[in-house]
């Protein structure tokens, strides 16, 4: 027998100019895991925010445990037995696990918080649900996977019997993900109903009982997982048949453009982040750098682009030693850099499109003459790039901040790749981006490769690595633990390397 714990009918949410959720229905039963599948922008987060009381639905009704429920805010949602694990952890770094768990519902003895009781309840919960965590540890010192358990504990401590997990595997290794799925099964067995949001089909098929697919703000399909296939779900999610591999020709690698030997560098906390890294990129090939986030990828990209000081080792680009070179020197060698957080780090949002398009070349002729800016040349450059890369903007004087996300991407790619001759360093190009932009960036990377540039693609998404890379390098704790042709690699093998489970 199934007992409904959550029942939503006709939830609708409008934002100025957008119908974010269009009459969405959702059911969740006791002890059930429901997958909520959809791409970025499909309306998953809006739906969840309505369930959790962050947004007020414009239309629709909700029932919790069979009772009509009108959720006035997160506090109310919590009181009604909902718990949420956010994609970006909602943990206070300098506080202990126990403090984080009890925050907002602290046990007290007299005037003070009863720390003993707090620690004790965390310990009990973690034993009961098999979530191994030290209550006294400071959260920011813990690995990501453990932090996630703290998030789950927070919900359980508040007596949640409805758990919403928002893209929980985004930051985990495949192995950590498997552990998470195991934890979810265990929770469901104790009667907790789980809404599991993801865009990863493998996880949906592995753990859910039912799956709900969203696209364009509406539910486009709901089915028992048992009868579903990866291809079928993918097609539902994207709205057209999906090719899992990007179309590209066989790579024709030329001479080595990037040669890294024994690279050592420290991170912002002065810890050794890159530990004796050696790798090469040849012209006309895409080298994918796989690894769980925080294993030195950021530092690697920063050292290669001149943004981070190197402790020891050498970097050579196109035969020139750039070990101590500045970002500008490296740029002069024809290196393009598509940064990870593009809109934040790659653009000055109050500048015009034209100014953003010369951000990496404003100091060169013809844009600058004896220290003075040549506005005519800057405008010509902008007109050309806007046309070549199809940037949709009212004018080149328009503030770049007013453009859509996809067009911002194009501005950056146009700027970085239009002058690139030797090497492209692209960091997490699909993060937080809609499908159209992902395809655009992928196409541009492949075309840069085909024009003879070497491409170093750093990504935490294995799918992306496998669909683009000609060669795969795996980073683990700042070391290269694998380096193989993409054709010979399997997801399982790379996954194990990413987790540090085997030494290559």
């Amino acid at each position: 027998m199934t007992t409904s714990v959550l029942r939503a009918r006709g939830l609708t949410k409008r934002f100025p100019g957008v119908l974010a959720n269009d009459s969405v229905d959702l059911d969740l039963n006791r002890g059930e895991i429901v997958g909520l599948l959809g791409e970025n922008g499909a309306g998953k987060s809006t739906l969840v925010k309505m369930l959790f009381g962050v947004y007020e639905p414009d239309e629709g009704t909700m029932e919790i445990g069979g009772e009509p429920a009108d959720i006035s805010g997160p506090a109310d949602a919590i009181a009604k037995g909902m718990g949420m694990v956010h994609q970006h952890f909602q943990l206070v770094g300098p506080l202990t696990v126990a403090d984080n768990v009890v925050l907002g519902a602290e046990p007290r003895s007299g005037l003070f918080i009863d720390e003993k009781a707090a620690v004790e309840s965390v310990r009990e919960l973690s034993e009961k649900f098999g979530l191994d965590v030290d209550p006294g540890a400071v959260v920011e010192d813990l690995p990501v996977g453990v932090q996630q358990r703290v998030e789950i504990l927070k919900a359980l401590y508040r007596g949640a019997d409805i758990l919403i997990l928002d893209e929980p595997s985004a930051v985990l290794t495949p192995q950590e993900t498997d552990e998470l799925l195991e934890v979810m099964r265990g929770l469901a067995a104790t009667g907790v109903g789980i809404i599991f949001i993801t865009h990863k089909l493998r996880e949906i098929l592995a753990v859910t009982d039912r799956v709900v697919v969203m696209r364009g703000g509406a539910v486009v399909g709901a089915a028992d997982t048992a009868g579903s296939t990866q291809e079928g779900l993918a097609e539902l999610m994207v709205g057209r048949p999906v090719i899992f591999r990007v179309e590209k020709d066989q790579a024709v690698p030329g001479p080595t453009v990037l040669y890294v030997q024994g690279l050592v560098a420290r991170d912002d906390r002065d810890q050794r982040a890159l530990d004796n890294i050696s790798l090469q990129v040849r012209s006309g090939e895409i080298v994918g750098v796989a690894g769980v986030e925080g294993n030195g990828q950021r530092e690697l990209v920063e050292t290669l682009t001149g943004l981070r000081r190197i402790t020891s080792g050498t970097i050579t680009i196109d035969g020139e030693d750039v070990t101590r070179a500045s970002p500008r020197d490296i740029h002069r060698l024809g290196v393009g850099h598509v940064p990870e957080d593009r809109e934040k780090d790659g653009l000055v949002s109050s500048y015009s499109v034209a100014d953003n398009l010369v951000l990496n070349r404003y100091f060169k002729k013809p844009f600058s003459k004896s220290g003075l800016r040549d506005f005519a040349a800057i405008a010509r450059n902008a007109e050309k790039l806007v046309a070549d890369y199809g940037v949709a903007t009212p004018a080149i004087t328009t503030g770049v901040g007013t453009l859509s996300g996809g067009n911002k991407q194009k501005v950056i790619v146009a700027r970085e790749l239009s002058e690139t001759t030797s090497l492209v360093v692209a960091s997490q190009p699909t993060r937080g981006v809609d499908v159209g932009s992902i395809e655009f960036i992928h196409e541009q990377l492949v075309s840069a490769r085909d024009q003879g540039a070497g491409v170093l693609l750093v990504s935490a998404e294995l799918d992306e690595i496998f669909s683009l890379a000609d060669r795969i390098v795996v980073l683990y704790r700042g070391r290269v633990v694998g380096d193989m042709p993409a054709a010979d690699a399997t997801v399982e093998q790379v996954g194990l390397l990413m987790a540090g489970a085997v030494d290559a």
Binding site: P327, P339, K344, D345, G346, L359, N360, F363
Partner: protein, 357 residues
């Protein structure tokens, strides 16, 4: 185009009007007549050559102080140290003014430049600490205000090395030599022209040069600036030096063109006036000039206001604080005057983000 210029002007004008309204209310509460008071303010600042001269005298260091803050803002820095930088610039200019004697063409600019450089040194310290140690410039500039005040106090004190031997108990330097004095043209100070010129140069630098572009990029998005190959640490230090240099020259002009010597404690509060002026000008160097003239006129007229309307001159500070508040809180202004929100006036400043480290 006209419409946009009007939009950009509207908020500052309304903020000034609201500031005057606050002053008006306080004057009424104190039992005085605001009309008499404000009329005296206008008369005291504009009615004749003497009054105009006084307004320009007051406005000159304000232009420089406003520019100092505005220039720093461009690089995302908040220079609250205008006061200390001005004091040091004024004292050093006085020293070079009274100690040496040479032809005017050399002496006058030399003393002025030395004042600017001395202040620039303070700015350099602030910039270097910010760039290398991450020490927040607001803290360092505040602290250096007090250091500079104490230092210049001592220089002219009883046992100080720059004390005027003939001034008895009064702490001050001797008068600067004539060759270091900034001349007045028909009662009007030419030092003001120097300030206007400085504003023009600043505008040109930020609008037309690569360096200005680099500074603005650093201020608007430091990370993007570094990606673009801009040496942001060097930009921070250079801009801070420039900013302090401007304030120091302001002090030098005060010494060489108005007071004739350095005396501790003159022009207190200038650092804060500079903030109001820079924000009133929306950090546009050219707009700093009218903004400084407005505040300078209020200062110049405040004496007559006290005489004729019995309103204490400190009311000017209250009005200034109110103007600053309304400028920094466009949402309040919009609420009061039912102004539509528009992008042109909405680029608000965000500078505070934890100290140090």
């Amino acid at each position: 185009m006209k419409q946009r210029q009007w939009d950009a002007l509207r908020l500052p004008l309304i903020a000034v009007a609201l500031g005057l309204l606050v002053g008006c209310i306080l004057i009424v509460l104190a039992g005085n007549n605001p009309a008499t008071a404000y009329w005296a303010l206008v008369k005291g600042s504009l009615s004749g050559v003497t009054e105009l001269g006084r307004t320009l005298d007051k406005a000159t260091p304000l232009v420089m102080g406003g520019l100092a803050v505005a220039v720093a803002f461009k690089a995302g820095l908040f220079n609250i140290g205008g006061q200390g930088q001005l004091l040091l610039g004024a004292a050093v200019a006085a020293y070079f003014g009274f100690r040496f004697s040479m032809p005017t063409v050399i002496h006058l600019p030399l003393a002025m430049a030395m004042g600017g450089l001395a202040a620039g040194l303070l700015g350099w310290l602030v910039g270097v600490l910010k760039a290398t140690r991450g020490t927040h410039e607001v803290i360092t500039t505040i602290m250096l205000n007090f250091v500079a005040a104490n230092l210049t106090d001592w220089l002219t004190s009883r046992d100080g090395p720059w004390k005027d031997p003939e001034s008895g108990a009064i702490a001050r330097t001797p008068l600067v030599n004539e060759s270091a004095e900034i001349p007045r043209l028909g009662g009007l100070p030419t030092g003001f022209l120097v300030a206007v010129l400085a504003a023009g140069i600043c505008w040109w630098v930020f609008e037309k040069t690569n360096f200005g572009f680099e500074v603005r990029t650093t201020g608007l998005n430091p990370k993007a600036a570094r990606y673009a190959g801009i040496k942001t640490q060097r930009i921070i230090v250079t801009t801070m030096v420039m900013s302090a240099f401007l304030a120091g020259v302001g002090g030098a002009i005060e010494t060489q063109g108005v007071a004739g010597r350095f005396q501790p404690g003159f022009n207190t509060g200038l650092g804060f006036d500079g903030i109001t002026i820079a924000l009133l000008a929306r950090t546009n160097p050219l707009a700093v000039v009218p903004a400084a003239l407005l505040i300078g006129a209020m200062d110049a007229g405040s004496t007559l206001m006290q005489a004729e309307a019995d309103v204490a001159p400190e009311i000017i500070s209250v009005i200034q604080a109110s103007i600053l508040f309304f400028i920094a809180a466009p949402s309040v202004v919009r609420f009061i005057v039912r102004m539509r929100s528009d992008a042109a006036t909405d680029d608000d400043m965000r500078l505070s983000s934890g100290w140090g480290a």
